[in-house]
Amino acid sequence: MEFGLSDEQRMLEDSVRGFLGEKLSMERLRKIAEIGGGFDAALWEGLIEQGVVGLLVPERFGGSGLGLLDAAVVAESLGYYAAPAPFPASLVMAPLALVAAGSEAQQAEWLPGIASGEARMSVAFAGGAGQTGDASVQLEGDRISGRLIGALDGGAASHVLIFLPDGRAALVDAHETGVDVDVRRSLDRTRPISGWTVNNAKAVILGAANDARAVAGRVLDAGRVILAADTLGAAQSMFDKALAYSKERVQFNRVIGSFQGVKHTLADLVTMLEPCRAMVWYAAHAQDAAPEEARIMALQAKAHLGEVGREVARLATEVHGGMGFTDLLGLHYWLKRIAFDRQMLGAPERCRQEAAAVQGWLAAKFGPVAAQTS
């Protein structure tokens, strides 16, 4: 009986971090970020070699058949290096949705492509996922029309998985006639934010209407855990940079880390950040192994990491002084990564509101996904 990462998970982490540390220099990150599409072919090839792309795809479809905790370990590593790669939607939410709601034939058709890295799926919610802005879609037979905003992993996507208000998911090929994607550079230049317009486009429908909302809720929660893990990695990276800087930077003939003002800030940061690690681990673990705690853990992990992440981002920047505010150090890539994670798939306030509903502390129902999965 153990609470912690397994030896295999630690090896996975070392391997992914080793790869990213070697391939993703600050210079390289800047180049990719200039385009802002959240995708780099060479990096993607490397992630395929690392076995990251098929992580959640069952072995019989060419993947590794691992669980959400393994995915969270990877997400934390990607966050640590601010890696521009379509991960939360393409490699976590989409395969989970296919496994949970796809027929055998649908799984056989789409999962091998995800595992090989050829298929990259954006995910968009037509409401209920706790995002601001308007979205609407109509489904007629196997044809879908409408407009979706705030989609994850839209850059270089081959498909988009659209969650309908009833919880079913419509899988649409990005290259079909009538499908248009507007990939916009976001505040976080390592990941874009995309709008999808579909006009009488052909869609493959996943899931039966009866348990679709529960599946959609689980996919959404998994995405939230992954974003929390990404924030954890990004915040840890900012903390490590601030700590290293405080041991180098000399003022008043002393390294600044010897001043209590700076030392205590760093102590406060590690005190708020370190417990987040076990929280994210358990939130990920619960999605696969503890269904009765899965929702509350996903919601609270997303909310808590959103809050801690913002605080770490600010204070770690402050420790760097004026240099932290410049573009020169590139620290801002991580700050913006954390800011992106915070708003996506439900900001902290929204997640806590859902957490209240899950615990019966809220009279009113809201949002189709949240209302049905609690």
Binding site: G257, R277, Q300, H304
Partner: protein, 406 residues
């Protein structure tokens, strides 16, 4: 992460639930720990020890249950007790600080003599550490012990000795090696509180109660073998105890219990006819703290696993006290805000009687500030985290006054 609920754990869970159902009515009220346990608390403690729900991992030759550490078992027991609102057993400085210190650095004889009576709640300990002139700078202690015909003869003054007025024993940090330096001149001694020459004077705190004491030691004689590890090793032993004190003060189980109490309070308290738990401003505060408590809870399980595997937890362990005491204060602050004006009548009853709910929360809320300061204040914790945990340089030394060699 191996938290699978095999048959062994389901059996334990069932066993604990049965226990709580059969014996829960015998539990003393949860919380407290600021007075000598009464018969009810002692009987409950023995019941827990017999069933292995307390001191589960302490060797059986010392009076524990003798099982290896299994975080899942501990979590199952803690959850079941917390859900039923029954006491998880006595929490005091002897049990949480001295016992693990003895198990780590004490002799077999000392463990055999003291661990059993301490975990049964029969022998109560107080901590003789701080002095009027050495608080945060603990190693500057001036209380000294000279050796005279096979005895230490102790003279000096200690302060903030909680429980000294009812404790049986004191673990005392004092200077035994006059010719040695600041840190290696110290020893860690055991002193019976009934020894001639000890005077305990109550120290009234902001709660209006005498939770602490000043303890004066005048020519107090104890046998020379009442020492842990040996002469000059006191600073090392004291730091082992401090490590456990930080864990005690930041105990996530306490936060989990308290969170449950705050939730109950918010469900039953109304504001203009609306349950407070349904008022968004209060509810969001609760949910934010719930997130912090959940993080602390799983962090605690991670630390237990690392401890059981003999892994070095480093900075993760050092943050526990600062983290836990701050969250505890936010929880009790929320509770007094929920009580509002109706929570202002304040009539502490002293040790003989139980306080009313509002007074209890007000005391907790103030006492939490004491816990943020005690056991190494929050700013001392930040120094420890920064220096020992993160490897940051110490402040440059000011000139040391003569008399205390560095």
């Amino acid at each position: 992460m191996d938290l699978s609920y095999g048959p062994k754990y389901r059996a334990l869970q069932q066993e604990v639930l049965n226990f709580v159902r059969s014996y829960g009515h015998l539990s003393p009220r949860t919380g407290g720990g600021r007075k000598r346990p009464d018969k009810r608390a002692l009987d409950w403690q023995n019941l827990l020890l017999q069933h292995g729900y307390f001191a589960r991992n302490i060797p059986s030759e010392y009076g524990g249950f003798g099982l290896p550490v299994d975080v899942m078992e501990l979590a199952i027991i803690a959850d079941a007790f917390s859900a039923a609102g029954v006491s998880p057993g006595i929490m005091n400085q002897g049990i949480s600080m001295l016992v693990p210190t003895l198990l780590e650095v004490g002799s077999k004889e000392q463990c055999a003599k003291w661990v059993g009576p301490t975990i049964r709640g029969e022998v109560l300990w107080c901590q003789g550490y701080s002095e009027p002139g050495s608080g945060s700078d603990l190693a500057a202690a001036k209380t000294c012990a000279r050796v005279e015909d096979g005895h230490f003869v102790i003279n000096g003054q200690k302060i903030w000795t909680s429980s000294a007025h009812f404790a049986d024993m004191m673990f005392l940090l004092c200077r035994t090696e006059a010719d040695k330096g600041k840190h290696d001149g110290l020893s860690y001694l055991f002193v019976p509180m009934s020894a001639p020459g000890i005077e305990v004077r109550p120290l009234v705190t902001m709660t209006g109660r005498a939770e602490f004491n000043e303890t004066f030691l005048t020519d107090v004689r104890i046998p020379i073998d009442q020492i842990v590890m040996g002469r000059g090793k006191g600073w090392h032993v004291a730091n082992v105890t401090l490590k456990y004190e930080r864990l005690l003060l930041g105990d996530p189980n306490k936060l989990i219990h308290r969170l449950a109490r705050v939730i109950e309070l918010m469900k039953k308290t109304t504001l203009d006819g609306v349950r407070i738990i349904e008022i968004p401003e209060y509810r969001d505060r609760l949910l934010r703290i719930q997130g912090e408590v959940l993080a602390s809870k799983f962090h605690g399980l991670r630390l237990l696993t690392e401890q059981a595997k003999g892994e070095e937890s480093g900075v993760s362990r050092l943050i526990v006290k600062l983290n836990g005491t701050m969250i505890a204060h936010r929880l009790s602050s929320l509770a007094v805000d929920v009580l509002g004006a109706a929570g202002l009548p304040y009539e502490p009853q002293g040790e003989a009687l139980e306080d009313d709910e509002a007074t209890t929360w007000q005391i907790d809320n103030m006492y939490d500030i004491g816990l943020i300061i005690g056991g190494g204040s929050s700013n001392i914790q930040r120094n420890i985290i920064g220096e020992r945990g993160l490897g940051l340089p110490r402040e440059p030394k000011a000139n040391i006054k003569p008399g205390a060699k560095e």
